[in-house]
Symmetry: D3
């Protein structure tokens, strides 16, 4: 049984690899490389999977999952500049893939190891990524 909670946060970012030339960055990341940043409304879905607790009828209380996401993820990233304000991305390009991976490792530490975790992150209403710890 998988239970899922949807939240959202708004952030600025810029895609950039400091090991590449300016020209290579432009070629790779196009308008996403704008040195003055752009931004997104990120939609985050966190799913945990495990057995139903027979006392509560819950796999995990989604109110607790929601508070965990608020404390651990939204408080860090909401209304922030990912490149400038968030240590997690000082040396990591904040692509949707890398943001999802970072969120996964933040939440993984806080969730019972009997439960599997899966992160879905929508960057726009046409682009999203899914990460479950594999890779």
């Amino acid at each position: 049984m998988k239970v899922c909670r949807k939240e959202s946060f708004n952030a600025a970012h810029r895609l950039h690899n400091p090991n590449l030339s300016e020209k290579e960055n432009k070629q790779l990341f196009g308008v996403c490389n704008n040195p003055n940043y752009h931004g997104h409304n990120y939609t985050l879905i966190c799913c945990v999977e495990g057995e139903i607790n027979p006392i509560t009828g819950y796999v995990m209380d989604l109110k607790i999952l929601s508070e965990l996401i608020e404390n651990e993820v939204l408080n860090r990233f909401d209304h922030k500049n990912l490149n400038l304000d968030c240590a997690e991305f000082f040396n990591l390009n904040p692509t949707a893939e890398n943001i999802a991976k970072v969120i996964y490792s933040i939440l993984r530490k806080q969730i019972n190891t009997k439960l599997t975790l899966e992160i879905t992150l929508w960057e726009t209403d046409r682009n999203y990524v899914i990460y479950n710890g594999k890779y």
Copy 2:
């Protein structure tokens, strides 16, 4: 090949475990424990997976799946109080997890055993659960 049909129903419910004290119920279920009930628009997605029938080009006619959901699920739960009107929940706490499990077992009996079945149930536009018979 997985084919999916989305339907919806509206119901009242209350989360409550009669084996726990009133205080424990309040702590566990908060506002969802309101003795006078509250309610939701449940969005139900049923997916069946199997081979494409070469004559029809269908895994399963989604019109037939839709009618099956209407007859077996919506007719039981739509515009009902799950705790008071639905025998399935007289002794089972109607959490999204348990509702999904009940819907799975109702539909599982009606669908060709060569097809796998997966139930997704949205309780609000931020909370949902997925069940495929495991657990």
Copy 3:
């Protein structure tokens, strides 16, 4: 300039007119007349219209509007049985129309009279009503 905020609440209700016979109620309200109640996820959109404040660039800070909705509307109706828990509906049939009208009159008292107010209330993903104080 109109500025709008979307919120949601979950409630149980029953459509019933105590001045009509049981049979007339069934005919008028069908499954919505179920004596044990059913429920909905209500989506509420509040729009206020007026001039932009040149200092803030806001017509009205949507964070303040959101807190007002939370304090005045969600705290009253979220996770409640409208017929049993909410004095506003002890003598008023909780149709979407009447709920919208009640929300309008609650919020109208709290919002600067220079601003017009409009309430949109979705009862299901197919039914909604709009009220702006007319009628």
Copy 4:
């Protein structure tokens, strides 16, 4: 890590199996068998799964995936009659299942074999299918 891109196209089609009688076609496909065709806004989601490239932070640049979908899928099927204009369906009934399978095989040839591919195709806002090369 799975990365996904959502696109859409509009097409006419008709469900029909030329090896069956007119009566059998009507029984099987109902209104979808209308000889003058009907149509849909198809929503297509393409997901590719693989490792993150440490230089780009991408599994696959979603802009490139989007262009690939536009060149290979939308240019073939958008604003077309699938039965009359598209050779892929001259001898294949254009059910959602078969359209998804055709799109999978078109894109599979263009995407690095290290990446897995999954196609989700919504035919209406209530019906969709998912195909990943199995079956």
Copy 5:
């Protein structure tokens, strides 16, 4: 008080003006002029505005409005080719504007003249039109 009902239908169509040359039609309507037709999932929202009936708490029972739309609009246009199957468009180009106008005049005859009527028609998830009898 405005009350609204959302429905949908699927149809094929082709934009074409028989008084213009083939070349002019191509220029004006582009891919929408495809002689073999293409199609859409049309989303239709019908809003009626008037006073709340104090006995029912309804402006108009949305179940009755839904049945009216089904009988008068969906039965005519759903799973049809608008140009070939629907007399309303034998001499009228089935643009979203004209379809909305036709639906308005069909429903206007069936709805109490004390109620105003407004038709919103989404042709794709990016294009829609609104008509209320003006023009």
Copy 6:
């Protein structure tokens, strides 16, 4: 007859009034005042209203409206920092209200004066503004 086109763009911004103290800015704009910026996926809906052209069946070809929005609005604001990259906001606080007003005045110059124009701008999935030239 009103015809509408939905587009979207992604941008970074910061709410700030240089005539106010740092403390006043924090109080007024809270997290939106972050000096390093944050960002949004803005959803833009442009509606034009007028008579149907009897030759085309269009009020205005939505493809032309879409291209106009792309050339005049998206090319200016998409993947930009509104405060740093866009002259329109060098001396104007980029609230949703002011962005809508700027977009209105840009597009108003390009659209036939016989047609009225209305701009809807969603900043998040819960906040939006509507502007039609009044105020």
